[in-house]
């Protein structure tokens, strides 16, 4: 068994943040650094304190200046709003033809964030330090914590895996309840079911400490697959295997009785948007995991090829790097 994509892995120590909102700032900074390190994402525009200065936005886009040097560069307003001065950063991936806009929208209540993807170039707002204007066809998330669980005096770590095309999976763990803070943020590759869906992808996130298959079908997570013709992101869900007229839950199945092989089932993406209800394809390198397998469980390693359970998913991992 080999990965369909080429994956790289790593972790970033977040230290022991003294406030919940600082985790959000650190996580945003980490996402930016992780994506830049992939070599596939570049800065299209960045608004921040630029290592402790004053909040400064680009005068025009694109502008490759990185003004997020330390987590405190990512300022946030005291009222949850996009139309107020705040730290934001637009990343661009020319392979996926995709913009990813990150921002910190609220300093209190654990800290709120905004994460949006679009294939249409963002523009500066009327006040340039406001969150950028995402003209059309944007998909994303605003108003929740990236980190759902915070405990004082606990060290947090941001883990990541990304492909050579720039798809990524980012999540945090803490020393307390090591795998309970599964704030999954993923831009995942899809093997398309038909040729017109060129390089489709799905964006998912979860901010719940309770992750099950339902969150990938409906509820707190949102999934999208762009149809590149007509280039409109559409709502979609993850399908899971089942059988007709039976109480068998495939997620209950753990190991093969004989050889201990962990069953990993392919994940299909199906559209739910009116006029776009169709099979989009299959997630690449990511599988449904057995329900009863604990988080952090890993497939027996075969060198770099390894899988780890995160929530209901088995994702590419190298447990020598990601723990």
């Amino acid at each position: 068994m080999a990965y369909e994509k080429t994956w790289s892995f790593g972790s970033i120590n977040c230290g022991v943040p003294s406030e919940a909102y600082k985790i959000q700032q650190i996580l945003l900074l980490n996402i930016k650094n992780i994506l830049l390190s992939s070599g596939k994402w570049t800065i299209y525009g960045c608004c921040g304190l630029n290592n402790g200065g004053t909040l400064t936005a680009p005068s025009a886009l694109p502008d490759t200046t990185d003004r997020w040097k330390v987590y405190t560069d990512i300022t946030a307003p005291t009222s949850n709003s996009l139309n107020t001065p705040l730290g934001w950063c637009i990343l661009y991936n020319s392979t996926l033809n995709l913009y990813f806009a990150l921002g910190m929208t609220y300093l209190y209540n654990g800290g709120y964030t905004a994460l949006f993807f679009t294939q249409t170039a963002p523009t500066l707002s009327a006040t340039t330090t406001w969150y950028p204007t995402l003209v059309s066809n944007k998909i994303g998330w605003s108003g929740f914590n990236l980190q759902s669980y915070y405990n004082n005096a606990v060290r947090y770590i941001t883990h990541y895996a990304y492909t050579s095309d720039g798809h990524f999976i980012v999540w945090n763990t803490g020393d307390l309840l090591a795998n309970s803070q599964l704030n999954f943020i993923g831009l995942l590759p899809i093997a398309p079911s038909r040729s017109v869906d060129a390089t489709p992808w799905v964006f998912i996130w979860t901010s719940s400490t309770t992750i099950n298959t339902d969150v990938f079908s409906s509820g707190s997570s949102m999934c999208f697959v762009p149809l590149l013709s007509p280039n409109t992101p559409t709502n979609s869900i993850f399908l899971y295997p089942g059988i007709w007229n039976s109480s068998l839950n495939i997620l209950d199945l753990l190991y093969d009785d004989i050889d201990g092989n962990i069953n990993m089932f392919p994940i299909l993406i199906c559209g739910t948007t009116t006029n776009a209800k169709t099979l989009k394809g299959r997630l690449q390198d990511i599988y449904w995991a057995p329900y009863h397998l604990p988080n952090g469980s890993a497939m027996p390693s075969t060198g770099q090829i390894e899988y780890m359970k995160i929530g209901p998913l088995m994702i590419p991992a190298n447990s020598n790097i990601i723990r």
Binding site: M1, S217, L239
Partner: protein, 322 residues
């Protein structure tokens, strides 16, 4: 979208009849002819009348003599007992390391005998009896053709370059031309783990009731198996389909925007105690939307085309297979 395997297609047109025995004999003869034509299956032993003679079995195995020249060479024993003189034919595929033994049994209701094994069959104590097999997957059941009408029957086939096959009959009777969906399939599987080398699943389907669960249950008229080649033990299995808060097989016929037909992959999961495991995905065969009718095809892209047969979308070339 391209096939994972290389498929060839064709049809064998039969004679007009309403005699059940003749349809069974024709179908068995066609199966043998189709598999030999792949170049991957050879005769390992054949017991028959050899163009109208007396029932004759090989004196030893292997014996490549083909004693099924015409349909009437396939003698019916008159009951379902394997230990009575009857016509049988052992085919062997060296790529799949697989023997396929086909025969005809019958009483007032005709039955066919279809048997797969990876262990070499041997002659019975009376050589015209059904051969001795072990670790086998055997179906002694209803006629290959579930409905007999007074019409011209055609046996259709599609085969991979390795010898996997799908064979089914249709009839030109005005009575429901696609209702006689007696699927006989040996399908390739993309493995889920390296220890399952070149797995396959065989399916016998002889009902006119095309509901989904008949391919998902070992209790019904369909038998699905996936052998684990180490330790070389065939095990019961069934086909899984996908679902969520929607049922895409039932709910979606075509994409409303572009008319695309949804074809969902078929997973093979084994149910035998000690072997409960995901085996992989059937290659080039998909679940079909329930709202389509049998015989519907996807838009052709040259040789790459699919046709709905029962619950399945199978590789087809409708220029050849109709």
């Amino acid at each position: 979208m391209t096939y994972e395997k290389t498929w060839t297609f064709g049809s064998i047109v039969g004679q007009i009849t309403n005699v059940p025995l003749k349809v069974e004999q024709d179908t068995l003869l066609n199966i043998k002819t189709i598999l030999l034509a792949t170049g991957k299956w050879v005769i390992y032993g054949c017991c028959g009348r050899n163009n109208g003679g007396t029932l004759t079995a090989p004196s030893s195995l292997p014996d490549t003599t083909d004693r099924w020249q015409v349909y009437s060479d396939i003698a019916c024993s008159g009951n379902k007992n394997l230990q009575v003189p009857q016509s049988w034919c052992i085919l062997y595929n060296d790529t799949l390391k697989l023997y396929y033994i086909i025969s005809i049994a019958g009483d007032v209701y005709l039955s066919s005998i279809l048997c797969f094994t990876q262990n070499t069959p041997t002659l019975a104590s009376t050589s015209t009896w059904f051969p001795v097999v072990s670790n086998n997957i055997m179906w002694i059941g209803n006629p290959l053709l579930s409905r007999i009408e007074n019409g011209k029957y055609t046996t259709h086939y599609t085969c991979t370059s390795e010898g996997h096959f799908i064979i089914w009959n249709t009839c030109d009777s005005t009575y429901i031309p696609y209702s006689q969906l007696n699927l006989i399939m040996l399908l390739p599987i993309t493995t889920s783990k390296t220890s399952d080398i070149t797995p396959w699943v065989c399916v016998f389907h002889n009902t006119t009731s095309e509901v989904l669960y008949v391919l998902e249950s070992t209790a019904g008229p369909v038998k699905c198996f996936a052998p684990i080649l180490s330790p070389n033990q065939p095990v019961d299995s069934f086909f899984l389909h996908y679902r969520g808060n929607i049922n895409p097989i039932d709910d979606f016929i075509t994409d409303s925007a572009d008319g695309y037909i949804n074809m969902l992959p078929i997973l093979v999961y084994t149910t035998t105690p000690g072997f409960k495991s995901f085996k992989g995905i059937v290659q080039d065969v998909y679940w079909a939307p329930s709202g389509l009718v049998s015989g519907d095809t996807t838009p052709s892209t040259g040789q790459i085309e699919y046709m709905k047969i029962g619950q399945l979308m199978i590789p087809a070339n409708t220029a050849l297979v109709k």
